[in-house]
């Protein structure tokens, strides 16, 4: 299954929308901000650009994407004022798949731009131009040598398609401890093809000296079946689906033919693809950890299972609907929330390992 026509975050601004269930993703962006700032500072200092083209890949419905964009613009404006340069035009390109809810971002832009202007001290700042770019980042999206800075957070763990010939991954929906070896191999090969395509496309689109900061879910252990943190949420979700099968609410064949187009690479897997492709020099390649238990502290919410389940729903619902139909959605997420609350104290269930990559186009 190709994901281009199916995968998108839940649209709009309702209870189960991505917009209302992406606090974790915002927190990850905040944690990455020092690396983003470092990359932009190096870009600005080395090139003193008279105009700047910035892209955010996997912008979804935009709250988090616009948060990054506003931070980037503030960094550039600070650098510009410190160096006494003239104002510069910034083009912001917001990318996601064609099924993404761009209307919600676009409608929020006028107030976003007003707020941004009021936060910038310099009266001669800007102008800033915004575009939406619909398409898969596993293909070309932008003109040759047109991009100066590229950011993507929590998008590159999505593959371009479910790996082929993994029908024997029965009762699982991703790599699990009971997955046969060919499943691991198929997922890894798909990641290699996708990530190297991504790098090749971006290498054509970026200017020499351009910077790229990517953050996505990864894993610490080289053996994915041993990974106890990042993958465990899908294992718990598979329990809910299996529960539906045993109650006769989902056909067994239907579950067996469902797998998530998602891969959490190790640091060495990522590094080896970047070196092999060869167009980028690595400035940083790091782990960071985040726990869904931030919901306890940051959002003053006791019902972590419900919030965690909604955060999975916001990203996975369209995929599930496309395979199982929309009749099962309420029920499966109800069960998932219940099962999750039983597992919530289990070691690592709430933990996520992120990979952060900062590279320069050679």
């Amino acid at each position: 299954m190709e994901v281009g026509g199916v995968l998108h975050m839940n649209a709009g601004t309702g209870e189960t929308s991505y917009s209302n269930n992406s606090h974790l993703q915002k927190k990850v962006i905040s944690m990455t901000m020092p690396i983003i700032e470092e990359a932009m500072t190096n870009l600005y200092s080395s090139t003193s650009p008279s105009s700047l083209v910035i892209a955010d890949l996997g912008c979804s419905s935009g709250h988090n994407s616009l948060f990054v964009v506003s931070e980037l613009i503030k960094i550039v404006e600070k650098l510009r004022q410190e160096s006494g340069h003239q104002s510069l035009e910034i083009q912001v390109l917001l990318n996601d798949l064609p099924g993404n809810d761009f209307n919600t971002i676009f409608k929020s832009l006028p107030s976003f731009q007003k707020n941004l202007s009021s936060q910038l001290e310099a009266k001669d700042a800007g102008p800033y131009f915004f575009s939406g770019v619909p398409g898969s980042f596993y293909g070309r999206l932008f003109m040759r040598k047109s991009l100066h800075f590229l950011h993507s957070s929590y998008s590159l763990h999505w593959l371009s398609q479910v790996p082929e010939q993994i029908e024997n991954n029965k009762r699982n929906i991703y790599i699990a401890s009971t997955s046969p070896p060919n499943v691991l191999k198929a997922y890894h090969s798909q990641f290699q093809r996708d990530f190297s395509t991504f790098l090749k496309c971006r290498a054509e689109e970026m200017v020499t000296g351009g910077r790229m900061v990517l953050t996505f879910i990864g894993r610490k252990s080289e053996d994915p079946t041993k990974e106890k943190s990042s993958n465990s949420m899908w294992e718990v979700f598979a329990l809910a689906l299996n529960d539906m099968v045993s109650k006769g609410l989902i056909k067994e064949e239907k579950l067996d033919s469902f797998n998530i187009p998602h891969y959490t690479p190790s640091l060495s897997e990522v590094k080896s693809e970047i070196l092999e492709e060869g167009s980028f020099s690595i400035d940083r390649l790091e782990f960071s950890e985040i726990s869904r238990s931030i919901y306890y502290k940051e959002y003053n919410h006791s019902d972590v299972s419900k919030i965690a389940a909604n955060s999975v729903r916001a990203v996975a619902e369209p995929l599930l609907v496309s395979h199982f139909g929309d009749g099962i959605i309420e029920e499966v997420f109800c069960r998932f929330t219940e099962i999750l609350s039983e597992h919530i104290s289990q070691e690592n269930i709430l933990e996520i390992t992120n990979l952060i990559i900062s590279v320069t186009k050679k």
Copy 2:
């Protein structure tokens, strides 16, 4: 009233959507195609570009916009092959106000691109990149000197706002034979401000030698109160609103405070703004005529009043809802269709005068 947050064509693909009620606009584009082709041919011949940035302003939900884009790409590909040049990248920028339904265009892009590829003979054609650009064209939208070709059809007769201080245009909703002189003056001044702002912004954004082809509704007579064709549809629509007032369904003050942010300039008004702004040389400045009676012939439909009413509804409904609320919509368009069918044989009621402008950036 500023129109930025209110004006947009009816979204989606339903019965009263713009997408399903814009046959007339497509016919106008087809009629203009020889002028578009001439402008693109001159651009290509004089610059032999290695990449091309094309913008369509006022793209709405996209059918007609993508029709123009596919024609433009076919023209460029034909010119390229004839001259034996290498393939070139084309960036297509689709602009409309932030409230426009961009999701519908974006979802149609994958199949559009597939169809386009199958129509192009050259295997090395492309690649083509598509972006949506939300914002008012009465302000800057694109980076400096970034555009080669700009097209806009049936958008520039919309003003940036309803002219101020025309509260005395009672029982009318646009310039009508009973409008006081200050109303005519206010509409004309608003057009002058808006059109000169439009030209200034585009002058900054276009490369030297870039081409711009604009089509919009205009008028033949210098005195707008004498115009019998283009403006008459609004006069008939005002009858429907007045009918609602006399039945107590709309308050008189509410109607008196409503005016359409729309202006149909004469050829000399347009020419004088282009000359005054000074950045563009005029290649063509022409009238063309179209009649809504094409519905009889082209669409094999006897119910012209209903189709004409729907075509007005598709462009004006959001404006009306914002002022009168959505409770009156069905009723007012029902009355409008009835009144229109009584006036349909009236001279010129179905006639529209278009202005076509083809200019080159100096």
